[in-house]
Structures are given as structure tokens and as C-alpha cells.
């Protein structure tokens, strides 16, 4: 698309990490798709948003984070006013045939879901989007030190939560 926004390139380069990040918040495929579509519609309607952006990934993560926070707020309001139906949360990890690994992934997914949103975002971006603390700070509009401390707190909680399982797996190896 000469002179315009190359939405296909943006999708091919960033949709996968955005999907995983959004799924970690939404824990629901349909909501995740809605959020992802919302982001791409926003980019199409306002192509100037990406003009002059140095770190495209960080910028898109910021959009995704804002969209996810809005969803959480909407859900909070909905749950207060309507009866909450328990929905089985979708794991953010790929399925595996190894039963031990599968169990670990399921437990990790649940443990991630129990983390406060701000820690979950930093842990996800550091571990699976491979962003630096500077990039995370840019994406989430926080300082690099805050990003680093949130990561450390989040990782500590996961380690405590998964310690028995992790140590058992280590022994088995």
C-alpha cells in the first residue's frame, strides 16, 4: 500500500505476540479476537497513529494493553450487575502430548491468571515477547525500574506457586 498503512505487514509481524498477550488477559478466544480486531480497526481508521513511532512493537503492545484493561473494567462492571457464569479459562500455552509438560503448562497458565494485571503484563512481555525493561516501560508507560520490580515480584509469586511441581519435574529429569 504505497503511502498508506500496510496493515497486512503489521498483522504478519505483530499479530502473534499481540494475540498471546491479549489472551493472557482475556482468557477467552472470542474476547481476544474482538480486542485484536479493535486494534486493527483503530489502526486502519487512524493511520497517523503509527506515523513517527520508533518501536512499532512497543506501541502496539501499549494499544493492546489499553484494550485489555478496558475489557477487564467492562467485565468487572458486568460481573457486578449480572450473574457471573463460570467459564473455563483458555490456556495461553500450546497443547503438548507430554502429560507432565501439559500439567506444568496448565498450572503455569492458572498461576499467571492469579497475578495482578500489572505484574502479569510485565512477566508476559519479558518472558514471551522478549522485550527489554526499557521497551516494556515504553509500552506500559511506566519507568524501567518499575517494570523490573514488577517482573521480580511476579516471578517470585510464580516460583512460589509452582515450586512443588517444578522441583518434582526437576527430580524426574
Amino acid at each position: 500500500m504505497p503511502g498508506g498503512l500496510d496493515i497486512e505487514r503489521i498483522y504478519d509481524e505483530h499479530a502473534q505476540p499481540l494475540y498471546a498477550f491479549l489472551l493472557n488477559f482475556a482468557r477467552d478466544e472470542a474476547d481476544t479476537r474482538d480486542l485484536l480486531q479493535e486494534i486493527f480497526v483503530k489502526l486502519t481508521r487512524e493511520p497517523k497513529l503509527l506515523r513517527g513511532v520508533r518501536d512499532e512493537r512497543a506501541f502496539l503492545i501499549r494499544l493492546a494493553h489499553n484494550a485489555a484493561i478496558d475489557l477487564m473494567r467492562r467485565r468487572g462492571t458486568r460481573e457486578k450487575t449480572k450473574e457471573h457464569f463460570a467459564v473455563e479459562a483458555v490456556s495461553i500455552f500450546a497443547s503438548t502430548e507430554n502429560p507432565d509438560e501439559k500439567f506444568f503448562r496448565d498450572e503455569l497458565s492458572v498461576a499467571l491468571g492469579e497475578l495482578p494485571e500489572e505484574q502479569r503484563a510485565v512477566v508476559h512481555l519479558k518472558l514471551w515477547s522478549e522485550l527489554t525493561f526499557e521497551q516494556i516501560a515504553t509500552a506500559l508507560d511506566i519507568s524501567p525500574n518499575t517494570a523490573a520490580s514488577r517482573y521480580r515480584y511476579g516471578l517470585d509469586k510464580l516460583r512460589e506457586r509452582l515450586r512443588p511441581l517444578y522441583e518434582e519435574m526437576k527430580k524426574a529429569e
Binding site: A15, R33, V41, S91, A94, L155, Y166
Partner: protein, 144 residues
């Protein structure tokens, strides 16, 4: 857990494969954006038109009475121009059709003139029409 163990734990987490985005989502997500993109272009063009309108409005809006007065003066000038053009005599441009009797009379007069001048052939007389001469010859004729 020691630092080395923490790193091991971190690495273990890092190597967990994430769920892949469903392939069919690409068309579902990008598809609607292509029509939105053309819509955005149309909106941009409309915005351009609106800015032109806004320019004219800003130009005329501060002194509408002055502009209206100027327009009235122009209209008056045009009306005056047209009305003076209408006063030109209607018959001036028209040539009244000559009746056959007048034509016959005219031919007879021409024949008589030719006879008086001693020229038999009328066509010859026609040929001896005014031929422009140099101004010096005219002066000679007039002074003679």
C-alpha cells in the same frame, strides 16, 4: 532458591510454547479493515472539501454586508451593460429585402449610365471600378 535456580526457572518458563493465533483469523481481522481503509480515504477527501468550504466561509463571514454590497454593484454594472446594448437600433443590422421592381429599376439605371458613358458592355463598366492610386497622384488630380 538460589540465583542460578531462579535463572533455570526463568528459562523453563521462557521455553514454554505459546498458543498460536488461528490462521483463519487473518482474513476475518484484515478483511473488514480494507473496506474501512477506502472509507477513511473518502472521509479524507471530504475533509479536504470541507477545508475549502471553511476557507471561503472565513473569507466572507467577517464582512458579509461589504461582500453583498460589492456583489450588488457588480450586478448593477451587468444590468446597465445589457440595457445599453439593447438600445442599439434594431433595424441597423438588417438589410431590407429588395423587391423585384426596385431591382429592375436599378438595372435600367445602370444600363442608361453605361450608355451615357459610352461603354457598351456593362461588365466592362463594372470592371472600371475604383482602383486605389498612390496619394501623390491624387494630389496632382486635385491641384489640376
Amino acid at each position: 532458591m538460589m540465583n542460578g535456580e531462579l535463572e533455570q526457572f526463568e528459562n523453563r518458563l521462557r521455553h514454554q510454547t505459546l498458543r498460536q493465533i488461528p490462521a483463519e483469523w487473518r482474513d476475518k481481522i484484515i478483511g473488514p479493515t480494507s473496506s474501512l481503509s477506502s472509507l477513511a480515504k473518502i472521509k479524507k477527501m471530504e475533509a479536504g472539501k470541507m477545508s475549502v468550504l471553511r476557507f471561503w466561509r472565513e473569507l466572507f463571514w467577517p464582512n458579509p454586508k461589504a461582500w453583498a454590497g460589492l456583489a450588488a454593484v457588480w450586478i448593477f454594472i451587468f444590468i446597465l451593460n445589457f440595457s445599453t446594448r439593447d438600445k442599439v437600433p434594431m433595424g441597423a443590422g438588417k438589410v431590407s429585402p429588395s423587391s423585384p421592381d426596385v431591382m429592375v429599376q436599378l438595372k435600367l439605371q445602370q444600363q442608361m449610365l453605361a450608355e451615357l458613358m459610352g461603354v457598351n458592355d456593362l461588365h466592362e463598366a463594372d470592371r472600371q471600378k475604383f482602383i486605389p492610386k498612390p496619394r501623390s497622384e491624387w494630389v496632382e488630380i486635385l491641384t489640376a
